[in-house]
């Protein structure tokens, strides 16, 4: 028997759904109040992108950079790593991604986010709103305590998904590089949490390909627009 074929993903998931949810609850309680700040930052980010695009080029990567660093330290390193051996490595990857955003903020064009304001399609709107604003509703809507709600810039899943959504609308060529870590995280986390039957895993698994396809489609459009006479 090929030993590796005998492994299933669930063999690597070393905690239960209850323990995961309780960790989110404890984290939310530990940093009570920061959820509001995180939501305000998300609103600010969208507002700036729509109204002050030049400013957004620098402000968005600063917010994302600080958010990724915060998640790396406060959740992955201090808390999640206690119950998940992979989280330590994830914390390093999140910290590097955060640092990359901060470095990018120093460039004039930053991440050059261009949200299609007036003509924003409902799909594009949903892709951005889900991780930034509606992710916290998943827990209470699926029978978990509201205290187990996950927020963008607070826990890794909505942070990674939200970052992908924003990068999908970014014009910087570096976006493809910046999308690697959040894509890998979303795929890994969705798979792990799926084995635990956690509803958020279904949302993450469904949203990830949509965001990636959107990014590719927008990328192609941008390329063809640039090359048209």
């Amino acid at each position: 028997m090929n030993e590796w074929l005998s492994y299933r993903l669930s063999d690597f998931v070393m905690f239960s759904a209850r323990v995961y949810e309780r960790q989110i609850e404890l984290y939310n309680r530990e940093f009570a109040g920061l959820q509001i700040l995180a939501l305000c930052l998300a609103v600010t980010m969208i507002w700036i992108c729509l109204r002050r695009p030049t400013l957004a080029n620098r402000i968005v990567p600063v917010i994302l950079g600080l958010g990724w660093l915060w998640v790396a330290w406060s959740f992955l390193w201090r808390r999640y790593a206690e119950i998940n051996l992979l989280a330590e490595y994830a914390a390093i990857a999140f910290a590097l991604e955060g640092a990359a955003f901060l470095v990018l903020a120093l460039r004039k064009r930053g991440v050059a986010v261009q949200l299609p304001s007036a003509s924003m399609s409902s799909l594009a709107l949903a892709v951005i709103a889900l991780p930034l604003f509606f992710y916290p509703l998943i827990a209470p809507l699926t029978g978990s305590p509201i205290a187990a709600a996950e927020f963008f810039l607070m826990t890794p899943d909505p942070t990674a998904l939200g970052t992908l959504a924003i990068l999908a609308f970014s014009g910087t060529r570096l976006r493809w590089l910046l999308m690697i870590a959040p894509t890998l995280w979303c795929a890994l986390s969705a798979a792990m949490l799926w084995t635990l039957d956690l509803p958020s895993s279904r949302v993450l698994a469904a949203a990830l390909p949509v965001v990636l396809i959107l990014a590719v489609v927008r990328g192609l459009r941008r390329t063809s627009a640039a090359s048209s006479p």
Partner: protein, 306 residues
């Protein structure tokens, strides 16, 4: 000074240690769970222990830590002593340490842990870190987890045993993996224990490893008795067969455990649980009557058919 089982074993007084038993309740063997001897040391341990993979990995959550300690309390009260963990199990070792301290049971537990590192030189330091998390003076059993870098680690563990800081040495596998290599090690190394997966569905160990363990006087710990819970969950939908009462079983979990314990090579099964009623039910399964050969076949056939 209180002389306990560990002190006696260190002095090489195996018979004295065996007589003292591994735990307070061990003194009343007649009313407690079925006991089995470790062939190499004659130490007797209850035939059902407690695993800690997933179930005890609860981080620093005070509510879940307390509920794990409650499970441990029920386990000790039922007469259990053997607890198994590994550095691979996240915060499980610290949870066990928390429970042992809270219940004041550090001297009573039969502490079984593992070495799990590719680094050949890190075995001793990893075991020391694990020991400090458990808060026990020494480990009763240290096993090389999944045979990872087993050669240097066994060397380290044998040296520790020689020096008196470890009582038994073992190796582990699970899911039926690497049985050929297990067999080779069992045939060539003076190990006290093997740990492997065995239950009415996963019976590969019956072919070579269990007979070999019996032949060579190696104790056997059985992991994944309920296939990680999926077997117990699956059977929970089925009515309990009439013949369950013939072997004194009142649940599917007890039928499974009694099947496992009725193999003469098996020393102890180590199911994991988060529930007090389950831990009590599991330890109670370590009791006579155990199924005979015909009943064993019937159990395996029946479970396969559902």
């Amino acid at each position: 000074m209180k002389t306990n089982r560990r002190d006696l074993l260190k002095l090489g007084v195996a018979a004295g240690a065996a007589a003292l038993g591994p735990l307070r309740v061990g003194a009343q063997e007649t009313s407690g769970p079925l006991m089995r001897s470790i062939p190499s040391s004659d130490v007797r341990i209850p035939a059902v222990g407690l695993g800690s993979w997933i179930t005890f990995n609860v981080g620093d959550d005070p509510v879940l830590l307390a509920s794990c300690a409650d499970v441990m309390e029920a386990f000790f009260a039922a007469g259990g002593t053997v607890i198994d963990s590994s550095p691979m199990y996240g915060s499980s070792q610290a949870t066990i340490g928390y429970g042992l301290e809270k219940l004041n049971r550090s001297d009573d537990v039969f502490a079984a842990d593992k070495v799990w590192t590719r680094d050949s030189d890190a075995g001793a330091s990893q075991l020391e870190l694990s020991r400090s998390r458990w808060g026990v003076p020494d480990f009763d059993l240290a096993q090389v987890h999944n045979l990872l870098a087993w050669e240097p680690h066994l060397e380290t563990l044998f040296a520790m045993k020689q020096a008196g800081s470890l009582l038994h040495v073992g190796i582990t596998t699970s899911h039926g993996r690497r049985h050929g290599e297990m067999e080779a090690i069992m045939g060539s190394q003076p190990i006290d224990f093997v740990q492997l997966t065995y239950n009415p569905v996963d019976r590969e160990a019956e072919e070579r490893l269990l007979p070999m363990a019996r032949e060579r006087g190696i104790a056997v710990l059985v992991n994944r008795p309920f296939r990680g819970g999926s077997l117990a969950d699956h059977l929970a939908r089925e009515p309990l067969p009439d013949w369950a009462t013939d072997i004194g079983a009142s649940s599917w979990a007890q039928i499974i455990l009694k099947y496992i314990l009725s193999h003469s090579a098996v020393t102890c099964a180590i199911p994991a649980t988060t529930r007090i009623d389950h831990v009590q039910e599991n330890v109670r399964a370590a009791s006579d009557p155990l199924p005979d050969e015909a009943m064993r076949q019937r159990i395996a056939d029946h479970i396969r058919s559902v």
